[in-house]
């Protein structure tokens, strides 16, 4: 099990080269949806890496619905792909699909989300969301010092396991840091809004949060898009200056705001890195490496104003 931070490098070049000719290989990818720019970027990144190795890339869209994702996987198998990469909408529901694919002789790789261990996949590549949450919480606690933390959370979608990991990590990060530095905890989370992972949703949720709790000093959103929407609402309400806004993903627009000092910090969950990493695992596997780690984490990185220049790339696809 590789620990966060110790595995692959983030730079552009392929870290793995293939000894075999892979040009006849068809890689199928089933995305959970294409309704969010994160997923679009992830799909694009996998495509770029896959094609970079000379393989063929085919994708289907789960349209945010487990049954449609299963349908998509079935269609991929029917089309005769050689490798399957799945970003499962649900940790359990796709287990039968994965196992059916494995049974028909396909290696299956998981990316970005969790799946039950009973699925016989080769390896899963994902961000350490809880670790990321901890980094964000730690940053907030350090930043505010003895000031009481009054936070609101904007979550993406109900029942989303990634969101849950992030907020649990956030709480752990704050608690641990305060205990370490102050010897006690002094924070409350006064409200949880729902923003549907979108800019617009974050804006709306923040408006209502500010009406009910005008005195919050921290806003944590489970992705950058919602955080940026919430920032707009805070600005309109004239509250942006007394508030720390943090999010996740490291979208380039968010990095730009961090650079300008308007946005506190974000935890890197780069679709580009995920895409590269999972493709590299595929290539390793196809080259005969049968001993891949079952879980591979992308490094957990916190990006605040100090580090932002290392990560900011205005031409990035995400």
């Amino acid at each position: 099990n590789s620990k966060p931070g110790d595995s692959q490098n983030q730079s552009g070049e392929a870290a793995v080269t293939s000894k075999k000719d892979l040009s006849h290989i068809k890689v199928g990818y089933c995305t959970p949806s294409l309704n969010a720019s994160f997923y679009v970027a992830l799909s694009k990144s996998i495509q770029n890496s896959v094609e970079g190795y000379g393989m063929k890339f085919i994708s289907v869209d789960g349209q945010g619905d487990i049954t449609k994702q299963i349908t998509g996987v079935e269609d991929l198998i029917a089309k005769g792909v050689d490798v399957l990469i799945i970003n499962p909408l649900d940790p359990k529901a796709l287990v039968p699909s994965v196992n059916a694919a494995v049974k028909s002789g396909l290696p299956v790789f998981i990316v970005d989300s969790y799946i039950e261990p009973s699925a016989r996949y080769i390896t899963s590549v994902l961000a350490d969301n809880q670790g990321n949450g901890e980094l964000v919480g730690e940053w907030i606690a350090n930043k505010l010092g003895k000031t009481k933390i009054k936070a609101a959370i904007i979550s993406g979608a109900q029942g989303n396991p990634v969101g849950k990991e992030k907020r649990l990590g956030f709480v752990r990060g704050i608690a641990e840091t305060q205990l370490r530095t102050l010897g006690y905890t002094d924070f409350s989370i006064v409200s949880q809004g729902w923003g549907g992972w979108s800019n617009n949703g974050g804006l709306k949720a923040m408006e209502d949060i500010l009406a009910a709790h005008p005195d919050i000093n921290v806003l944590m959103a489970e992705n950058d898009a919602m955080a940026m929407g919430a920032m707009k609402a805070a600005q309109e309400a004239g509250k942006a200056d007394n508030m720390l806004i943090v999010g996740f993903d490291g979208q380039k627009e968010a990095l730009e705001l961090i650079k300008q000092g308007k946005y506190g910090a974000t935890a890197l969950n780069s679709p580009i890195g995920l895409g590269k990493l999972v493709t590299e695992s595929v290539v390793k596997y196809l080259n005969g490496d049968k001993y891949l780690d079952k879980v591979i984490y992308t490094p957990s990185v916190l990006i605040s104003k100090e580090e932002v220049n290392k990560f900011y790339d205005p031409k990035s696809i995400f």
């Binding site: 995305t31 869209d61 029917a78 529901a93 029942g159």
Partner: protein, 314 residues
Amino acid sequence: MKSSLKRTIHFIIKHNTIIIFLLMLVLSALASNAFFTPNNLANLIRQVAPVGIISMGMLLVILTGGIDLSVGSIVAMIGVLCALFTQSMSLPLAIVASLLAGIVVGSISGYLVSVQKMAPFIATLALMTIVRGLGFIFSKGAPVMVADSASALTDFGSGSLLGIPNPAIILFLVFGITAVLLKYNIYGRILIAIGSNEEAVRLSGIKVPVYKFSVYAIIGGLAAISGMIGTARTGVGSPNIGIGLELDVIAAVVIGGTSLMGGKGSALNTFLGVLILGMIGNIMNLMDIASYSQQVIKGLIIILAVLLQRFQEK
């Protein structure tokens, strides 16, 4: 001999959904070699089963001049409930309880429409929201596992009989029953009559509210069956599936030449409508058409199919 030919022609004109269907079939076969493989055909029929099963209920509802927007939510909620029930009761009991729950939800729509005379669109729209919320509440927002003791359910979901996937067998059953009901049973004839002239039926001493109520109860039950099939296939009940399913179901019924005004429609054509819609998605996936373009093409084909239907009226 000649008369049988004439009858065939007449049949085709009347059911010109068949022409669209055959056209799609030929196009699909031309478009992808993978289409006419037993594996893919089994996939296709398994994939359309949930929409297909519910479409038969929707046909009944639309025949009476109504509509039901809540089915997608029912599928999700029952999927969740069914998984929960397996954790606390025997499988047969869990299935019966899930089915009943679906019928109860449908009955609430039925009550609002038939007794309270609410517009079906708005009554079922409200229920769509409510039932979706309940699904989330019951599941606490996360997918619910089917109990290990209920492995028979998941076995059934992934199993097949004589090469036909089990969900498809249920679809065929539901289709057959509906077809017979509409053609040879008084119940079906009365539904058509209600959609065609409700007042006349009322004046004939037929208890119209009872019939209107019944179609919503039935579609609730069918949505429950679809929900259970979903859970059986995946082994989990997930509260966020089936969003927008109602629109697919309605589109299938309308592609099958059913009038949204009620009084006009057939089970066979609806079944073909379901297959046409399913084939659109399947073949586009096989052809590697990008997801966004798929939506555009699907919409265009719906428009085309409905425009072609208009010849039927002549």
